[in-house]
């Protein structure tokens, strides 16, 4: 497993090296052109060699970027070991351009986030956001979302809030908007901003419907709680029933204990025992809402 700090320092070193090398190639090229009188026809040979070196290194860089991008599908398919190997290859190969290294670090952050290694994911996202991203600046939004999510998991809502702040002025894709709704719901629930969480509930529910089961269930359960707290009992009942169908109530509430309130039999009572089937969970809900 690639340690986050080691990956960051390696990329930092490679980026410096590639900047020096690029400067060297361009410098030699200009010097050769200026000294063409003294060099005679050999200046053409030097320029041609520099051109070939540039093309070969560019090709290697492009291959590296391609590998880094491909690791995304491996992560999505849950093939974490294969993705790790691929990312290691990207980070270990020299690249003339920043893009492949930055995408490599980003993919490593995505991998660590998927593996629920929140600390590593946060370190990598911070390192990436601290750099000038240039042509890959698009990844900064996903990075902020992952950082916010990781910080919430690490129980640091203030850092999560700071990460989210940078997103509000940006135009988000649908996938990013969906993730933002999930992270925001979590953040507002921790801060007990119920009114803010319940605002625009219909749109938030539509976006939650597009999430994977677990994330959707958690977001809709948090929205149900916000609806309950703000007196919108029809929404609270409807959303709670949906969350029950999509995920295990016990698991949901263990991860977010605040959600026990949705399934509590009476104030102060202990959480319900693990229900064995969807039927049982449905009954618990119907009795209490």
């Amino acid at each position: 497993m690639i340690p986050a700090e080691a990956a960051i320092s390696r990329v930092r070193r490679d980026l410096t090296l590639s900047t020096v090398l690029k400067g060297l190639i361009i410098g030699i090229g200009i010097a050769t052109f200026l000294m063409r009188g003294a060099m005679g026809w050999s200046h053409l040979l030097v320029l041609a060699m520099l051109g070939v070196a540039w093309i070969v290194l560019s090709y290697r860089s492009a291959m590296g970027s391609r590998l880094a991008v491909d690791s995304q599908s491996l992560i999505a398919a849950g093939r974490y070991e294969a993705a790790e190997e691929q990312i290691e290859q990207v980070l270990g190969t020299f690249s003339l351009f920043r893009t492949s290294k930055l995408i490599g670090i980003h993919q490593l952050a995505v991998l660590r986030h998927a593996q629920k290694r929140w600390g590593d994911a946060a370190v990598l996202c911070r390192a990436l956001l601290g750099r000038r991203l240039g042509p890959v600046k698009g990844v900064s939004k996903q990075c902020r979302l992952m950082l916010a999510d990781a910080m919430l998991e690490l129980d640091d809502p203030r850092a999560a809030h700071e990460a989210l702040n940078g997103l509000y002025q940006q135009r988000l894709t649908l996938a990013e908007a969906i993730n933002l709704v999930a992270v925001q719901a979590d953040f507002h629930a921790r801060a007990e901003n119920w009114a803010e969480l319940a605002a625009g509930i219909e749109t938030k529910v539509q976006l939650a419907e597009l999430m994977p089961s677990q994330q959707s269930a958690r977001t809709q359960a948090l929205l149900a709680l916000a609806a309950k707290k703000t007196g919108r009992h029809d929404w609270a009942t409807w959303l709670t029933r949906r969350a029950e169908l999509l995920a295990d109530v016990q698991e949901l509430s263990t991860r977010r204990p605040i959600l026990w309130e949705l399934w509590r039999v009476e104030p102060g009572a202990s959480p319900p025992s693990t229900s064995s089937s969807a039927e049982r969970r449905g009954d618990v809900s119907s009795e209490n809402l």
């Binding site: 053409l44 419907e209 597009l210 994977p212 959707s216 919108r232 169908l245």
Partner: protein, 297 residues
């Protein structure tokens, strides 16, 4: 009497054979050899001219240096323009995906028709666009066309295993909707052979649908009950589809209380109109059972 020349007809909207053909990326011209030839020509001319006088030799050196720099700059600009065009193509695909997720099918269809009517820049973008096209065609109940696109991809493109699995599931669904039950059954057996590891909820959903369609509600309910955990985990809100088909199965068996409960759960997760569109065989349920309505905004 002179016969008028046939008036060329504009291609039909989402004309599959036309789109499959027109979207093929252009074969790259062999620019390398043209460039090498041009370069050689420049070198020969400059050698010839510079041999004439020392003044000409100096001018030619300057000229050849400038040509070299010009070539590098032109290559850089060309690469940049190509990368930008490819990026724009990728962004349009993201837009299509978003439109589909938001169920704005008309706009997604128009955009796909537009994109696939001309050669696409990147082969992987073409594959993605065709996968989306198959979904859009399914939405418009053009299942034969959807199957044609899916088969084209499965026969001509090397896909990663999960994409291939998804595509095969889509093809079986189209076959079931077209009542190609024998083909569907064969394709499902093939999928099942490779499914031991995957425990695909999508395949379970197809199994349930096939059993509902062929009048085997007992088997449909068995599969539904066995695979409910996988369905919950993997298909998100499409779990509503499984409940809807289970409701139909219970109804066929006269187990009305269970049918009502499954129908409520289905309509809790998905809008009734979507479920009826996806599974017209179960549309009659709405005459008998009460859905769960979403709260007023």
């Amino acid at each position: 009497m002179d016969s008028a020349p046939p008036i060329p007809q504009p291609p039909q909207f989402l004309d599959v054979p036309h789109l499959l053909d027109a979207s093929q990326p252009r074969v790259r011209a062999g620019w390398f050899w043209y460039a090498a030839g041009f370069f050689l020509l420049i070198v020969m001319i400059s050698t010839y001219l510079s041999a004439g006088s020392p003044l000409m030799a100096g001018a030619m050196q300057l000229f050849s240096g400038l040509v070299m720099l010009g070539l590098v700059a032109a290559m850089g600009m060309l690469t940049f323009a190509m990368a930008r065009a490819q990026q724009a193509e990728g962004q349009r695909l993201v837009a299509v995906e978003e439109l589909m997720q938001l169920r704005r099918w008309g706009e997604a269809a128009a955009m796909l028709n537009d994109m696939l009517s001309t050669p696409m820049r990147a082969p992987q973008h073409r594959v993605q666009a065709l996968i989306y096209l198959a979904s859009v065609l399914g939405r418009y109940h053009r299942f034969a066309d959807a199957i044609a696109v899916q088969e084209h991809l499965l026969e001509n493109v090397i896909l990663d295993p999960s994409t291939e699995h998804g595509l095969k599931l889509g093809r079986v669904m189209s076959m079931l909707r077209e009542d190609h039950l024998v083909d569907a059954d064969r394709a499902m057996s093939e999928l099942r052979r490779g499914d031991a590891e995957r425990q695909s909820a999508g395949l379970a959903l197809l199994d349930i649908y096939r059993d509902v369609k062929t009048g085997h509600p007992d088997e449909a309910i068995d599969i539904f009950e066995q695979r409910l955990p996988a369905l919950r985990e993997q298909v998100g809100h499409r779990l509503g589809d499984a409940y809807y088909l289970a409701a139909k199965s219970y109804d066929l068996l006269g187990r009305e209380a269970e049918a009502q409960r499954a129908y409520e759960r289905a309509t809790l997760l998905s809008p009734l109109i979507e479920l009826q569109r996806r599974y017209p065989e179960a549309a009659s349920l709405s005459e008998k059972y009460s859905p769960v309505l979403a709260p007023a905004a």
